[in-house]
């Protein structure tokens, strides 16, 4: 059973990455972006990383569903065309990581 769930996560990651790649190539024409933050990508990254690291905070949905959706959302940003999505991913990891630390270490 656990292996099936991990396959689900992997497939979710692959689909998210492919979709992120296709969408970012349509959205951005410049080969490399420096310093710009895409608000939609940022929201997707923050929500995605939050759902993966803090799935326990959403008790009304089964954790594996939350994580699958989270992996899909973070992969959308992580899989963007080269040069894009880096800053958004880092911000997402930092915010979700801070919530995880507050939840597990401090509280």
């Amino acid at each position: 059973m656990s292996e099936t769930i991990y396959l689900l996560y992997i497939l979710s990651f692959v689909l998210g990455s492919i979709l992120g790649l296709v969408m970012s190539y349509k959205k951005y024409k410049a080969p490399y972006a420096i310093g710009n933050v895409d608000i939609l990508a940022l929201i997707s990254a923050v929500v995605g990383w939050f759902m993966v690291l803090n799935s326990i905070l959403i008790p009304f949905i089964a954790p594996y569903i939350t994580i699958t959706i989270g992996v899909f959302l973070l992969a959308l940003v992580l899989g963007m065309r080269p040069g894009y999505g880096r800053n958004e991913t880092f911000i997402g990891i930092i915010i979700a990581g801070m919530i995880w630390i507050i939840r597990t270490v401090i509280l």
């Binding site: 656990s2 292996e3 099936t4 991990y6 396959l7 692959v14 990455s17 492919i18 790649l21 899989g79």
Partner: protein, 282 residues
Amino acid sequence: MANILLNVLIAFLMGSILFGLQRKIMARIQMRPGPPVIQHLLHTFKFFVKESSFPKTAAMPFYIAITAMLCVIWVSAVIVGPVTQGSLLLIFAIYALHKIVEHNAGSSSGSPYGKLSCVRAVFSAAAEVPLFAVLIIIYFKTGTMDLSQIIGFQTTNGPLIYSIPLAAAMFFVLILSKAPYSPFAITKGKDIISGYETEHFGLLRGYLMISESIAWYMLLWVFLTVFIGGLNPLMYLVGMVILSTVVAFINATTPILNPNHSIMMQASLALIGVVGSLILLL
């Protein structure tokens, strides 16, 4: 059957993503944006929709059969490993077969690049097979070659990486030699284009790439299982990402070695590993 399919699919997808991750990390170290993490996977899929052409010099039907053989041996490794947790000796036999298939894939196309890679495959087997044989140290330590019993041994006595670290280091060198762009990857050195894969196009190349992804996953799986112990899927994932990252750092900062130097270095490391581990066991 469903369990086999499930594990093969996980091995293929994870192996491909880890290869992609490796390329991404290497690119960032070299100050390049690098390809997306799923590039290797997309590459594999791409070959399945490309036209398959066959060189006039190819030795048919061997040229086609060899790609299926490579797939079959690594699917067998998944069955022996994660599915049934069988004997480590079988995994060793599968690795030895992999070297033979590498050799034959190169020679079957008739291409000079393939032939040179074929010669290098035999050459490198002289060093890589002894490196894999370092696993015999595990038998001396645990008294078994059965994967499930080795996991059981580590549950009671702690991970083997602490008691036989040199054997773990030697196995890591073997893993390194199977990574693309590694200093020991002489069978696929860029001086011979893509080595034994140079003249395999379309569908056949797709099968070769699937096999390589499964092989990478399996080598990491064997390392983690044999030297760390039975882990849950999440810890396997973390372990594989860490190992792939370390390999990426080494590959990004080290040039490919001359075949003679590569073999001598691997053989020397294998000797140090075996002798050193035996001394530590005494």
